[in-house]
């Protein structure tokens, strides 16, 4: 115990020291950048959706099918986040919309500073300066991306049928912080034990305000609800 003040700090504690009151979030720098990104995205005319899921849950396929369905009426742009490769961006580019690939070189999530850079790159792409909906496909990871605001307007969390229905309970942060929850690959329901209603109820327990949908991008089942949600977002923005 310290003889001077009776506190229980270790002996290296001296009274030449100074306590600095900071009371600032460690994410303050990221959040400040996210606020700027949001303003930048709005200036481009767009609403941004940050897509979070495990690897392989069908984010890119959902985007491909969405562009096929809405690309003629709604201007869509995409920022792809991956650890390595521009394969996802190539798939999206083949659909004829402006896209850029961010590679994090090992980092498990996108942050607001990367999106800031991404927005400037996207504006240089043909048709990338004026958009209606900007999709940000985050690095495949249901944990870390949930902590970082990118400047999106809506956050979407995806779980595919083969992953199993226990993801909301195991990865609560992604579900607390999202507005939309999609159960994808429902065409595989005959082959997996995935009680859809139970998974939905569990997600709603974590976040009663979630909009929940189940769909298959390949069979098209349930896809209209997703497209209606996007049309409604776009209509509200106009």
């Amino acid at each position: 115990m310290c003889d001077v003040c009776g506190c229980d700090l270790k002996p290296e504690h001296t009274h030449d020291s100074k306590v600095i009151e900071v009371h600032e979030s460690l994410l303050a720098a990221n959040t400040a950048m996210a606020v700027k990104n949001r303003a930048h995205i709005e200036k481009m005319g767009a609403i941004a959706i940050n897509m979070i899921s495990s690897p392989g849950s069908g984010k890119t396929t959902l985007l491909e099918k969405t562009i096929e369905a809405l690309g003629d009426t709604i201007r869509i742009g995409v920022i792809e986040g991956d650890i390595e490769t521009d394969r996802d961006a190539q798939r999206i580019r083949a659909k004829g919309v402006p896209v850029i690939q961010l590679t994090t070189g090992g980092a498990c999530h996108l942050d607001a500073a990367q999106i800031h850079k991404g927005l400037h790159l996207l504006e240089k792409e043909e048709g990338g300066a004026k958009l209606d909906i900007l999709f940000i496909e985050n690095v495949g990871n249901l944990v870390c991306p949930a902590t970082f605001d990118l400047g999106e307007h809506h956050r979407l969390v995806l779980v595919s049928v083969p992953e199993g229905p226990d993801k909301p309970a195991k990865y609560p942060k992604a579900f607390h912080s999202s507005q939309v929850f999609i159960i994808s690959k429902t065409d595989l329901l005959p082959y997996f034990d995935f009680p859809v209603e139970e998974a939905k109820a569990e997600a709603l327990q974590l976040n009663p305000n979630l909009l929940v949908m189940d769909l298959s991008a390949t069979s098209g089942e349930g896809f209209d609800q997703w497209l209606d949600y996007l049309r409604e977002l776009h209509r509200k923005r106009l």
């Binding site: 700090l9 270790k10 290296e12 504690h13 001296t14 030449d16 020291s17 100074k18 306590v19 600095i20 009151e21 900071v22 009371h23 600032e24 979030s25 460690l26 994410l27 720098a29 980092a107 498990c108 999530h109 944990v143 870390c144 949930a146 902590t147 970082f148 609560p172 942060k173 607390h176 912080s177 709603l204 327990q205 974590l206 976040n207 009663p208 305000n209």
Partner: protein, 114 residues
Amino acid sequence: MHEMSLVQGLLTQLKDLAIEHNKSKVISVSMEIGPLSGVVIDSFQFGFDILAKDEPLTKDAKLIIESPPAIYRCFGCGMEIEAVVRPESCPDCSETLFTPEGGDGLILRQVEME
């Protein structure tokens, strides 16, 4: 393991504070990490232990972490329940849906330096 990059951000902030206040040694760092912050406290502590000892400024620094509870607002009757883990059901109206509020802080509260 985004805790590692968050610790790196913390160490950068400590360096800036040391320069600003003309100090050369961090004695203790007080953090608030809420149960809904998405940060695993053990991983954050582990990252701090590894990265802080590489710098003369922070090599003896002690990390103090507090994790205050979140507030869960009942979706049925609006009752507010303070808890670290989400309640099973509302004691008043048995509703099982709750909207969490707070508990997501990842806050650098105080730094003691000399």
